[in-house]
Structure formats: C-alpha cells, structure tokens
C-alpha cells in the first residue's frame, strides 16, 4: 500500500468559496442590517439535527446561502508534461527558537521540488434562499457586481505553492426554483449561481537542503606548471578532501631587544597539484590562531567584523563547543580540528578547544636527570639571566644566541655550573638544569632532519623544530583558503 497523503486541497477551495460569498447582508425597512449565513450545502443529517437542537420546532433562518460541488472533471486542455519537476531555491531567515521570532540574517536554505500538478475544473453551485424578492435582489446585487468577469480564488499564501491562485467564474444564474403562478404550495425561493474554477491537485513536494556555496572548491590553476587546467575544473573523483591546497605557514620565533618572545610570520597557500582543493570561505578572511583563540584577519590586520557577525554569513546555526574550526597546513598531513565557542567579553575572538588527536604529541627528550616532553621557558641566553628561575629539572629552549664558547676562559657567571665550569650550548638547543649543572638534552646542530615537538609550560604553546629552526607548531596566521568552519 502506498504511503497515505492528503492535503485537503479541494476542501480549501470550498473554504475559500464560502469566504468569498460570506459577509453579505440584507437591510430591512428599519435599516437593520442582517448578515447572511453561508454554509456547505451537503451537510449530514445528523449535524442537521444538531443544528436544530434536535427539535422539530426550531425555525430555519432565512435568507441563507449554501455552497456545494456539482462537478469535478479533468481539464485535458490544461494538461502539461506530467514528469516536469519545478525547482525553487529558498533561503529562510534564521529562526530564533528562544524568542520564537525570525532574525534578520540568513538561516536555512531549501530546495523545493514540485511535480506538475493535475488540472481539474471544479463546478460549484451556490443556492440563495430568500423569503422575498426584494431580499433576493439585495443579495444578488452585492454578489453579481463582483464578477466582472471573475474573481481570484486563493487557497493559501504559501510562496512555494504554485497552484494556490485560481479564478472563479460566474457561469450562470438560475433566477428561481419556483414555478411562476402554478403551485398550490408556497415553495421557498432559491436562486442558484453556478461557478466554475480551474484548479490543480498536487502531489506532495520534496523539500531538500539547499546547496548554498559557503566554501568554493576550485582545481583550475596548476601550481606546479603555472597553467590553467580547464579539463580539471569540474569536480572529479580525484578531488579528495585530503588533497586540499595547504598553507605553507612559518611562524618563526625570536626575541626582541628586551628578550621578549616574538614570532615572524610567513604563509603562502599552495596547491599540491591541479586537483587539490582550495577552500574559499565567505569574505576571504584570514585567521590568526594564538593562545587557543582565533581572530579574523583581513589583509593581515584584525577584521572589523566580529565572529557573531561573520558566523551569520553561514546558513547553518552556530553552536558553542560543537561547531568546528579546521585548519590545513603543508607540514601536517590531516586537518587540525577544534571546536569553537564565542567569548563574551571579546567579540573578535573565539576560544578553541582542540581535538588533541589532530595535534601532534610532544617529543619526549630524555636526560640523565629526567624524561620530559615539555620546556619551561624560551629565552635568549644573552638577554635573560636564568638564576632566578633555576631549579632542578628546569628546561629552557635557547633561541637567537648561543651561550659559552670553547675558546672562552671565563664564561658568563649566570650560566656557570655549581662547580664553576662554564656551560656551552648553541641557539635552538634545549638545555636542562639538574640542580648542580646545565646539560644539553636536545642538540639542534645534530637534529636538522628530525622534527621535534614540545610545549612551553609557561604559555601552553606548542613549538616544533623543523629544518633547523623553531617554529610555532600549529598556531599562527592562516591565510584565506587554509581554514574552514564545519557545522
């Protein structure tokens, strides 16, 4: 058995026909205006009894109008391609379920697929019962003036319902049901108006998700060859998600004159090949990832738009701690994923809760004293005195400058071991204080090919050693095309 469907389509035509004939009236000699009830004519006997209060003494009111169907036939002249499907793309305003109101930004997107409806001609009779001729004329004059030659009949105001608007034609008027001068009974007088209306009966529509372009995937420009591969412009099976164009991001760390940590940023979005996907987000914003927060960037500067405003450009609703931020960069195989949430006091930031499974783990560095994958500070050994922070197990990453030299006869006192010997380490080394002396636990000069990850316990920021320099691991500035929002 097919699935049941019923939309009350003919019922709505009759409802509107009754509305169209309602609210007319007659006026008596004293100027009293009495409305004329209009009802469906084919009522059931049981309801008729209820209306009469189950009493034969009840008086039927007069005048009255009754509306009923006399014919419904297929209109072959209006038949069209029965397989035609009309598609309508609609964007709805966002609906706030807390206030039960529509907001003034975009919400869900829909594609409505409508199958060609079937045309019919519906014939309706309207019987007008009046108790005297003048009364009948009053009623008819009010109705007949409206049909010149037709009236619109609209069954609903839904924009997507292409069958809702029809017309109703007055086809004929039967003046009276009585036989003039040839009756012993005073029959009630009924004038009959016959109307016809072309209608459609529709099957249900298909409501589908609208494919709104919030992220454009292109694979036209071949980065390697510097050519445009038009034959690869169409989406194809090679365009896998792991073949995205990735940003070559370098946030090299250094210190300023006062020893404060700085980072120098370079980022280029690059495609591995012509098939690689480039992600284009709304408004081409870049992204600055710092301290587990993200800020929107425009031309390298913080964008004026807040995150609340920006997220409204997407059709999907944003959910704190559910909506994801995904980053792609050339030195990571997969995407770096974190859920984001709005920061009340800082509209231009979202806080990120990283999915640790998408971030590389820190590399454990073992010494004679301890084994750890973290460091405590990053310093320039010529600008920062470690004396006040020295405690057993302290690990430091040295950047910019080396400390000590084999040719020195008396090195810097701040870096001497307890036995008075000088300590020697190079820039980019990780050193450790074991309580009596310093030791190098990561010798950068011997690890050019090795990728080392470590997290600064002082800031919580992860760094990596790659190709002879220390960089921010995944934080930094992501150019447009290297990040996206997933709802």
């Amino acid at each position: 058995m097919a699935q049941h469907f019923y939309d009350g389509q003919i019922r709505r035509y009759l409802t509107q026909a009754i509305r169209l004939l309602s609210n007319f009236s007659y006026k008596d000699i004293e100027g009293v205006i009495t409305p004329i009830p209009v009802m469906y004519g084919d009522l059931s006997r049981q309801v008729g009894s209820v209306i009469r209060d189950n009493s034969e003494n009840k008086l039927p009111s007069c005048p009255r109008m009754a509306v009923y169907v006399t014919n419904l036939e297929l209109d072959r002249q209006r038949l069209a391609d029965s397989t035609y499907v009309s598609k309508l793309n609609i964007k709805e305003r966002a609906f706030n379920s807390e206030t039960n109101e529509y907001d003034n930004y975009n919400g869900k997107g829909y594609t409505i697929e409508r199958l060609m409806p079937t045309p019919y001609n519906l014939t309706i009779n309207v019987d007008i019962w009046s108790s005297n001729t003048e009364q009948k004329l009053q009623i008819l004059e009010q109705i007949l003036v409206l049909f010149n030659p037709s009236l619109e009949l609209q069954t609903n105001d839904n924009f997507v319902d292409w069958t809702s608007l029809s017309v109703i034609y007055l086809e004929s008027v039967s003046w009276s049901s009585r036989t003039i001068g040839n009756s012993t009974e005073s029959e009630i007088d009924i004038a009959t108006l016959t109307f016809s209306t072309p209608i459609y009966i529709s099957p249900p529509v298909k409501v589908k998700k609208l494919g709104v372009i919030t992220s454009i995937i292109t694979s036209i420009f071949n980065e390697e060859q510097g050519t445009i591969d038009l034959d690869l412009a169409v989406p194809n099976l090679q365009a896998y998600i792991d073949n995205r164009a990735k940003a070559d991001i370098k946030d090299k760390i250094s210190t300023d004159d006062d020893g404060n940590l700085l980072s120098q940023h370079t980022a280029i979005i690059k495609k591995a090949d012509a098939d690689a996907l480039v992600n284009v987000t709304p408004l081409d914003f870049g992204l600055l990832i710092r301290d587990n927060t993200a800020k929107l960037l425009k031309n390298g500067f913080q964008a004026k738009a807040s995150w609340v405003e920006y997220l409204k450009l997407y059709p999907q609703p944003f959910e704190n701690d559910i909506t994801e931020l995904r980053l792609v960069r050339s030195d990571f195989n997969g995407e770096i994923i974190g859920t984001i949430s709005l920061v009340d006091q800082s509209p231009h930031e979202v806080s990120i809760n990283w999915d640790v499974d998408t971030i590389p783990g820190d590399t454990v560095l073992t010494s004679d004293f301890t084994a750890s994958n973290k460091i405590h500070f990053i310093i320039d050994p010529l600008k920062t005195n470690p004396t006040t922070i020295k405690e057993p197990g302290l690990r430091l990453l040295l950047i910019d400058e080396s400390i000590g030299d084999v040719v020195n006869t008396d090195g810097a006192d701040a870096w001497k071991n307890n036995d008075g010997t000088d300590f020697i380490a190079s820039a980019n080394d990780i050193i450790e204080w074991n309580g009596t002396k310093w030791s190098v636990i990561f010798d950068a000069s011997e690890s050019n090919e090795q990728v080392i990850y470590t997290t600064n316990l002082n800031t919580g920021i992860q760094y990596k050693y790659l190709n002879g320099e220390w960089l921010l691991s995944y934080e930094g500035e992501y150019p447009q095309g290297s990040w996206r929002i997933v709802f």
Partner: protein, 388 residues
C-alpha cells in the same frame, strides 16, 4: 319563503343554536391557539417612499408594502396575543434534508376555527399572515441551553370556509386555515424579537430560542476563520525569507562601520548587523508587497520622511494609497514596494479597487456642503427639487 326551511335569508335562531353548539364543541374538544395578529406592513418613511413602496397614512392590513413585487416583507404584529380554540388532525411528519438543513417535509396543518368566536376575539377575520402558536406542541426537551421550551409557530397561508363547517342552515361556522411553519425571516422579525420568556428577559429573544441563525452564523464564522488561516492576505507571504544584499561588485554588501562604536540612535544599525539592508525584495511574484522591509529590518512609519536618515533606512509612507515603502540610499528615498496584500474576506475595511467603491464612508465638503462620497449610480447628481 316556504314555512319549513332550514335556510333563511338571515341568520336566525337555528343558526345561533347550531353556532353555539359548535363553539361549545371547540371549547370542549379543541386546543388553544395563540394568535399573533397581523396589523399590516410597516410603513415606509416619507423620505424613503416611492410610488411602488408608498407611505400610508396608517398601518393597516390592507396596505401593500411593495406594489411592484406585491409582497409585505416587513410585517407588524400586535403586541397582544389572542387565544382561540382550534381543531386539526395530527399527522406524522418526516424530515427532508436539503442544502439548507433539515426541513419538515409535510408540516402543513389544516386547522378549523370557529368563525364567530374568532372574529369576536380578534376583531376581524383571520387572514393570511397571522401567526399562530400551538402551545401544546412546545418542546421542553430540545438540546438548547434555554430554560424555556421551544415553541411551535405557524403562519396562516390561506383562509377558506371549511366544508365541514356548514350547518343545515347553509351558513358556515368554521374557517379552514392552512398553516405552515414559519421561518426566521424578515417577515416575522416583529414576533421573533420579543422576549422568549417575559419573566426572564435575559434569556434572550424568541429568535435566540427558536432560530438556527446564531448557530449557522457561528459555523459560517468558523469557516471564514479557517479560510483566513489558510490565506490571511492576498498574494504571498515572503517575510520569513531571506534576501541577500549585494554591492556593485556582486559581493555580499557588508556594513563597514566600526562595530565597536555604533551610534545606537541610528535606525537600522543593530548591534549584530553584518550586511547592508537590501535594496529590494529578493523574491518576485504576484502580490508580494506587504509594506514590510526584507529580512525583517526595522522601519519607520509616517506621513513624511524623517530627517537624519542614513543609508539603508526604510520608511513606510502611510499617506499614500496603497502604502509605499521606501529605502534611503544615502542621497534619496527609493521606492521598494507598495503594500498591496490585503484580506480576502469581505470586511468593511477591505480596500481593493472595487471595494473602495463599496466600503466608502468618506464625506466631501463641496462649496460648504457635506456630500457623501458613496452614492448609488442612479442617484448621484440627480436634480434637486427646485419648485420649478
């Protein structure tokens, strides 16, 4: 004149003897009938009178209200109720279901009443149009909420002399009344507007008690409400749809103000605004203009444009018909749409082009004289009486 003849040219003692016996018979065996005496059609006022609907000197049974259609539709009935006795044959009746509900199929009663007593009580012969209530047919067990029983009313359609009412004197003693149940119509308003229960007037009128009018109007109202729920206004509802605003380059038009220093006094720059207000509705179709800006943007209403507007402000001019919505583009107010959607119900404020000629209470002052704008075509600018 023969010595032995029951017929006499004058109604003699034989007639009176028989007539008294018949009256006794009606008194003993008949049932009460309450007669609402028809006094005549209500008089057309002098200013409304026409040759075919004249103004009479007095209300009288002999008056005819409409000399063209030959009908008395606004009938006046005596406030007093006259009690007679009548006899009729009871019969079983069935309901007929018609397009107007249930009707009693053969609810026509042939009743006989005593001539002389009825004339004595009524002051005249019973005539067509008199309404008769049969108290023995009151229905105390209807579904109505009233404490009063539902009464049974008939109207006299014909009055003739009953064959069985002729005595051997050849003089008639009985009238034969053809009675039919009345309807709640214009003709019987005078009766049905009376209180259903004089002791409890708050119970309502006889119409409230007897007529199906209220119930039918409730049903009609419910159907109209359903129709209005289906189609509140003509045309199509698009207010819940989103319109994307584009700039000259075809990109999304973003508000470029610094959000941290918004002037809260400006109309359209909400704190969470990201895009510029649309220059037009994003949906095209028949009767979409409703006077509301796209995307539910805020707008002003009035009869003149406000000062100090900024780009993107909307304003609905209510001094224009139909009301017109404008948008300020920074230099001028551009028309967005006209508010053309309106109710499809025949209300007294419906303002389609056709209904502005019908729903019209305007009055114009022309050279100091107040002239009603709505006038019948046949009466507009007719010459006045100038005693020529």
């Amino acid at each position: 004149m023969p010595r032995l003849s029951l017929y006499k040219p004058e109604k003699g003692q034989d007639y009176k003897f028989i007539d008294n016996r018949i009256f006794e018979m009606f008194t003993v065996g008949g049932t009460d009938i309450f007669v609402h005496k028809y006094l005549g059609p209500k008089n057309t006022s002098e200013e409304d009178s026409t040759p075919t609907t004249p103004n009479y000197n007095a209300v009288a049974e002999t008056n005819i209200q409409d000399l063209l259609f030959l009908e008395n539709r606004d009938r006046k009935y005596d406030d007093d109720i006259y009690v007679l006795r009548g006899v009729y044959t009871l019969q079983d009746i069935d309901y007929n279901l018609s397009q107007f509900g249930l009707f009693l199929s053969n609810d026509t009663i042939i009743m006989t009443v005593h001539i002389t007593s009825s004339i004595k009580i009524l002051g005249r012969k019973i005539i067509a149009g008199d309404v008769i209530e049969l108290p023995h047919l009151r229905d105390e067990y209807g579904l109505n909420e009233f404490s009063t029983a539902i009464k049974k009313f008939y109207v006299v359609e014909e009055v003739t002399r009953a064959v069985e009412g002729f005595s051997p004197t050849w003089y008639p003693h009985l009238y034969r009344l053809k009675l039919k149940q009345i309807v709640d119509g214009q003709e019987y308003k005078d009766i049905l507007n009376n209180s259903a229960n004089e002791d409890v007037p708050e119970d309502g009128t006889l119409r409230d008690l007897l007529s199906t009018f209220t119930k039918e109007l409730e049903i009609n109202t419910a159907v109209i409400q359903q129709a209005e729920a289906d189609t509140p206004l003509s045309g199509y509802e698009t207010r819940h749809f989103f319109t994307l605003t584009k700039n000259d380059q075809g990109n999304v038009s973003i508000v470029t103000a610094d959000f941290s220093s918004l002037d809260a006094s400006t109309q359209n720059e909400l704190a969470d605004r990201v895009m510029q207000t649309p220059e037009r509705d994003g949906y095209i179709g028949y009767l979409l203009g409703d006077g509301y800006p796209p995307n539910g943007e805020v707008f002003g209403i009035g009869i003149e444009f406000p000062n100090g507007s900024i780009e993107g402000d909307y304003y609905l001019r209510t001094d224009m018909f139909p009301n017109r919505l404008f948008r300020f583009n920074g230099t001028s107010w551009k028309k967005i749409e006209d508010s053309v959607r309106m109710t499809l119900t025949n209300t007294d404020d419906r303002a389609t082009q056709k209904f502005t000629f019908i729903n019209n209470t305007n009055e114009n002052v022309i050279d100091g004289e107040i002239v009603k704008e709505r006038q019948s075509l046949s009466k507009a600018l007719k010459p006045r009486s100038d005693n020529m």
